[in-house]
Each structure stands twice: as C-alpha cells, then as structure tokens.
Amino acid sequence: MTAAILVSIFMTLAAAATPILLAALGELVTEKAGVLNLGVEGMMLCGAVAGFAVAYSTGSVALGLIAATLAGVAAAMIFALLTLGLGSNQVATGLALTIFGIGASSLIGAGFVGRTITRLGPLFPADYAAHPWLRLVFGHDAIVYLSLALVLAVSLFLRRTRAGLILRAVGENADSAHAIGYRVLAIRTAATAFGGALAGLGGAYFSLALTPMWADRLTAGRGWIALALVVFAAWKPGRLLIGAYLFGAVATFELQAKAAGWSFIAPEVLAMTPYLATIVVLTMMSLGRRTGGRDAPACLGKPFPAS
C-alpha cells in the first residue's frame, strides 16, 4: 500500500523532472560551446505546439515528438542566424526568441485549445511493471529513458571524446580554437541546434505526456528554470540530473499538496514554490562558490569574431 504510493510519487517526480532535464541538457551543450541562448522557453513552446499539432492530426505521438524536435531546431536556427550569422546581441536575441515562441505557439495552438490526444504511454508492456517496485524501473515512458541515456551520452561526449574537447575549446577560448583551425561558427551552430532539439523535445513532453492537451503557455516558465538549472549544475551533466530531479520533487510536492487539499496553504502560494526554490538554489550556489572558482565557459555569450 505505502509502497505503491511511494512509487507513484516517484513516477510523478520523474515525469516532472524529464522536460526540464532535456531542455537544460541541450542548453548545457550550447553554453559549453560559448553560446548563451536565453530562448529556451520559446523553443520549448515551439516544440510543444508542433508536437501537439502533428500528434493530433496524424494520431501518432512518435511523429509528434519528431516534429517537436525539428521545430526546436528550426527555432534555434533563427537564433543562430541572428547571433552567429549577423552578430546580434545574444541576450536580446534570446529574449526575442522567447517572445516569438510565446506568440507563435499561441497563434498555431489557437485551433487546438482544449483538444486532447492519447498521451505517451509506458515504453514496456504492463506485465513488466506488475509489481510496484518494478514500475520504478520499467514503468516510464520512452522519453524518460532517453533523457537519462542522453545525460550519460553528453557527459561522455564532453569529457571523453575529441569532438567534445573541441566543443569545449570553442567555448573556453574561441580565438585560440579558431587559430588552430577549428570552425568556431559551425561548431557553435551545431551546439545551438542540439540545444534547440532537446528544448523542442522537452516542450513536447508537456503537451504529449504530462498534460495531453493544448493550453496557452503550457510550459509556464520551465524553460527559464532549465536555464537556472545549468548554472546550478555548474555546467556538469551529472549535477544537472540531480538538479532536475530535485526540481521534480518540488513540483511533485506542489501537486501532492494540491491533491491532498491542504487548506492552510493557498494554492497560489504552492504555485510560487518552483520559482522561489529556483531563486533560493541560485543564491545557495553563489554562496558555495565564494572560494573563487569559475564554472561558466569563459567565452559564454561573447560574440565571435569580437566586434
């Protein structure tokens, strides 16, 4: 009985953590290449609406997920064109991308408000997860497993492969990387595209798995929390995983408290918790970093070539 409840709480937690983990992991790779894309929220919304539109019209959640990934890449390429191609300010362009994503998703989604689809189901057949504890291992949907595999893959890629080393070099010292002969802008474009793909996929997790219906701005600022998570994780994939699941715990607490009908805390106060928790965590991170260490890639947000 209690086991079943605990397992069910953890399942909610993993589901809440997954979209943020995906978006943050993509942004981590982008930032490691020296590009600060503040448009995560916008790319997530593009993915969310594209995924929903395709899944609704074709009846296939898988096609929806693919469309969402592509939509995220497309949005990221607008950002890349402006910042890397035309040298525009990365902060301003990222904000523009978010405003664009809000507008575009709301415009495209206008015809889908209130429509529902069959949500993304567990990857494994139900009898694998007959026992509650086995549900912890076999009860998730494909995206949860994919996100965990991607954490491992990105971690290995950045630390153990030559390509990962080059990507980090471009983010740490673009001029030197250029002098050795690496194509800084091409590498940064690829890293930005990867960030867009994962943000799009993370956004679609909202519209295809968490709440299988369309509502305006349904990512509710999670893209910004993903950005904060990258700072919290000190640009390390392993810590990103911990951070995302901690965030999932906060979100699950909010849901559980609402479901349990705790009347001594207003629902609005509960709805504030993820955002307040993010501020608290960012503050604690800074307190802990007082020793003088530096975590961010040295060229983060700086244009190349320098203007």
Binding site: I78, N89, I99, G103, G221, E268, M272
Partner: protein, 354 residues
C-alpha cells in the same frame, strides 16, 4: 557580386533607418505569412499597422496603451545600457499595482487630493522593492538578474491571484475574483473632459524627457554608459559598478511599478486576474526599437501601441486571432536585431575580384 564590408564607424543614418526597415520587413513578412495560412494578408497588415493611425477615434487608445510601455521601457533601457538585464518588469509592474491598490483599499472611504499621489508613491515603492531583490543578489552574490527578476514575475502574478481571490476580493462583487472599484479620488483624471486619455499619458512623455536629461546631461547618466560599455575603464574612472546596478534596477522597478499603478488607477479601476497583460515583456521590444534612447522609446512605444490597437481591429475585421499581435511584435524585434548588422557593416558592390 555583393560582399559585406565593415564600416570604419557605426553608421548614424542606419542607426535611425534600421528600425524603419525592420517595421517594413515585419509588415511584408506578416502579409506573406498570414496570406499563406489563409487570411487576407494585405487587409490584416493594413488593419494592424495603418488603421489605428488614420482613424482619429483610435488615437486616445494609442496614447493610453503607449504610456505604460514608455515608462517601463525607459527603466529597462537605462538598465540595458549599463549591461543590467532586468527582464522581470512585468512582475515589478504587478507589484507596483498591488502596492498602490493596497493604499487605495485603505483609503477607500476617504477623499482628498493626496490619495492618488500616495498611491503613486506606493506603486513606485512596490516596483522598486520587487527589483531590489535581484539587485541585492546580483551585487552581493553575482546571481544573474535575468533569472531572478524573471522568476519573481511568476511569484508576483501568483500573489496577485491570491489577493484578488482571497483577502482583497470585493465582498459585494458577486464572488468574482476582483477588488473593489476605486473611488473617484483614486481614479486618474482625464486630460480633458470626456477624454479617454488620462494624466498618465502626458506624465510618460515628461518622464521620457527627464530620462533623456539624466542619461545625456548628468554624471549619473555618464556612469551608466561607461559601466555598460567599458567596465574596466569605469573602475579606473572611479565609477562604482555596484552602485550603478542598484540605481538602474531600482529606477527600472520604480518606473514599472508606477506604470502598473497608473494602469490600475486608470483603464482598469480595480485589480483583476486579467491585469498582467504582458506590457513588461513588450517593453523589452520597445526599448530596443527605440535604440535604448528615451526619445526613441516614445516613438517605439507608439509603434507597439499601434500593433495592440490594430491587433484588436484585425480581430474583428479579418478575424485574425489575438495571438497574432504577439507574433508581429516578436517578428519586429527579430528584424530589428537582424537589420542592426547594417549599422556596423555595409553591403558593397564588388567591382573586381579582391
């Protein structure tokens, strides 16, 4: 063949021309996009960008919508110049309105000339207080003001929901989540009898002039620019970057808070859950379109006000969804950032191979 050549100096002409080019490109793209998805593209773009300007009965509405955009964008622009990225103006706007409404509810049975100024001061204080936390965290702990100010926007909006559904709900309001209507002493007077234009509109223009004076004629304004453009030189020159961060965030928060209070005491006349309409985010576009200059911001705010008013017109005439307005505004910012390249580079005709 054409090629890009870097200009020796940024082009002054392009600095002013590129916003106009961006507006033109936005209209063109909008026409094509909305044409492609089955609307009358030309009529849609005309309704959004032209009708509000040529129909005099819309002008009052333009002023009313431009006023909060001007005030918020002024505060943001001062910050952006100092490389301080306050993007939580929407939250400061809401907190300003909440603080001012607090005074309004306390003074509901009173009359007097002092009530509105007291509400305005509370509005400024509310907005500034909401910006003070990002300032403190930025100055003391180097926490990114981008993230903290934005997170606080979500908190402010939830706080507003809590108040209008709970303690501040009008007991005679048929259980609607809204506060009491403000009394006559708490409502902004119109500039002329029967006009929709409230005193906040001329005030916004006056504030733009004040901001222009402070930024270009005073040492404080100089400090803001130096800290933003050349932090190392600013240190040598004895300018305190932390003080600049504090000042620009408090000023930005105060202006956004004042804008929020004026909106509450003007067009709304009360607080409702529909109060946050996104002016705090649109003001980011205004600040950039206005080239971060106070005078430019007044014109840019008018352009964005045109898209709001025109968007409403297009909803009824071309049945364009309301979300289209946001799309046009975002497109405008994209094109502006893209055409910015013309300020530093020029497209040259290559006569012979280089």
């Amino acid at each position: 063949m054409f090629e890009w050549r870097r200009r020796r100096e940024p082009s002054k002409a392009m600095l002013y021309l590129s916003p106009l080019i961006a507006i033109g490109l936005t209209m063109l793209t909008g026409m094509l996009v909305f044409g492609a998805i089955g609307y009358d593209g030309l009529r849609a773009v005309t309704a959004i960008f032209v009708t509000p300007l040529i129909e005099p009965q819309r002008w009052a509405d333009l002023g009313v919508k431009a006023a909060p955009l001007i005030m918020i964008a002024l505060g943001l622009a001062i910050g952006f110049r100092a490389n301080v990225w306050n993007i939580g103006a929407e939250g400061q706007y809401v907190m300003g309105a909440i603080a001012g409404t607090g005074v309004a509810l306390l003074t509901h049975d009173m009359t007097g000339w002092w009530i509105l100024p007291a509400m305005a001061l509370a509005g400024i204080a509310g907005g500034a207080a909401w910006a003070a936390l990002p300032a403190l965290l930025k100055v003391r702990l180097q926490v990114s003001e981008i993230l903290t100010s934005l997170m606080l926007t979500y908190v402010a909006v939830q706080f507003l929901y809590y108040l209008v559904r709970g303690p501040w709900k009008d007991p005679d309001g048929f259980n609607f989540p809204q506060t009491k209507m403000f009394s006559t002493s708490q409502t902004l007077p119109a500039v002329a009898e029967g006009s929709l234009v409230h005193v906040g509109v001329p005030l916004a223009v006056v504030l733009a002039l004040v901001a222009w004076f402070v930024l270009s004629k005073t040492v404080a304004g100089y400090a803001v620019r130096v800290v933003g453009r050349a932090p190392a030189a600013a240190r040598h020159g004895g300018f305190d970057a932390n003080r600049v961060t504090w000042s620009v965030l408090l000023a930005g928060g105060g202006l956004a808070g004042l804008a929020g209070l004026l909106e509450a005491a003007g067009p709304f006349g009360q607080l409702t859950p529909q109060f946050p309409v996104g002016y705090g985010f649109t003001a980011i576009i205004v600040a950039f379109l206005g080239r971060l200059s106070p005078v430019g911001i007044v014109f840019a705010a008018l352009v964005l006000a045109v898209t709001y008013v025109g968007g409403e017109i297009a909803q009824s005439t071309v049945r364009l969804p309301s979300a289209a307005t946001g799309m046009f505004q975002a497109l405008l910012l994209f094109f502006l950032l893209a055409t910015d390249v013309l300020v530093r580079w020029r497209l040259a005709f290559r006569a012979r191979p280089a």
